[in-house]
Symmetry: C2
Subunit: 195 residues, 2 copies
DNA sequence: ACCTGAACACCGTTCAAGT
DNA sequence: ACCTGAACACCGTTCAAGT
């Protein structure tokens, strides 16, 4: 890449970062280009889609979340590890207003620039879930995709201003549903609702 | 209202209904006007905002859901009544792709044309919840607003094509969290997580 | 190689001019 | 009273023309 091109690219990423923090991921691309003193077409050649721009911007964060899942995998309490990591995921998405919708769309769209990162994230969660399930502290009728969907739903809640005040509480409610109730080691009769 | 105005209004509502069914609530208003062979400005005077158009279109459905909650209030099992009604709510929103976001925004926006309907819906859910709580079969650390948020989150899930296949299952998971586990009537020691 | 302005086909909003 | 076309300020996409 030519030096001036790299300079443009880096500058665009910096400007996009602040613009998205201020206005959310739906911010006008034209506006980002304007703020970066660059033609709109220049932005679009560096980042052909909104998803491509976000991917470049969020790659570091994605990697951090995946790495943290790896650390949690060695912790003593599989269920605490799972819940703590889920909480980290939800907290992270709230920094990028609107990103949940794009991630939900990207998880099955192999053409999306965000696809690989989302799949990696789901796999990291699936490992933590499997460990808790093996330890008998997470319900066994859900998988990594269910977990991804629950994170997305809770993150979406945090993204809606009128519902956001309840997001933390509802996270706890959903977390309690993921963890099998230790009080009911039910071997018979009182099986929890399953699909 | 003049006869020709009423005719325009009714025709616009009919066209909007099919357009929204096909393309979701974000369908272009210009497109609806075009399909109705009417000027865009005409549509906007009958329905000054997208929410106003939706309110006119969904009022019947809102009323039906509220009425059904009333019927459920007299049923034998408060917990079955609550869960069945929640299921009806989620199922209904899936008929109007994208409506969940507008409802979440409307619940605290007194200016929104959808505000009153959303508040009524929340109150209907709150009554069913209170009845189940009084019967000791629903956790007592949530209220009508939490319930509204959970419905919205589950409806949003159903609205995301990649996550939709898990929506029914995850509804059951969340429902199990709302209903206190009958196996753990925990009087001491194993209190469920609370905020 | 890389950048850019301009044209394009959209969108919702507003309003003066028609019937 | 009610309707409408046109102007407006946006949006993302595309591409021929510049350096």
């Amino acid at each position: 890449m030519r030096a001036d091109a790299k300079k443009n690219r880096d500058h665009l990423l910096a400007v996009a970062g602040t613009a998205i923090t201020e206005q959310g991921v739906d911010v006008s691309l034209r506006d980002i280009a304007r703020r970066a003193d660059v033609g709109l077409a220049t932005l679009l050649r560096h980042f052909p889609t909104r998803e491509a721009l976000l991917e470049a911007l969020l790659r570091t964060s994605f990697d951090e979340l995946t790495a943290r899942a790896g650390e949690f995998e060695t912790s003593d309490s599989p269920e605490d590890a799972l819940v703590s990591w889920l909480r980290d995921c939800v907290a992270w998405t709230t920094e990028y207003r609107g990103v949940t919708v794009l991630m939900a769309a990207a998880i099955e769209d192999t053409e999306s620039a965000l696809h690989a990162s989302c799949v990696t994230l789901r796999a990291a969660g699936a490992r933590l879930l499997a460990r808790a399930q093996a330890a008998g502290t997470a319900r066994t009728d859900i998988d990594g995709t269910d977990l991804f969907a629950l994170i997305a739903a809770l993150a979406w809640l945090s993204d809606q201003p009128p519902l956001a005040p309840r997001a933390d509480h509802l996270f706890a409610v959903v977390a309690s549903a993921i963890l099998t109730n230790p009080a009911s080691t039910n071997t018979e009769g009182t099986a929890p609702p399953s699909p």
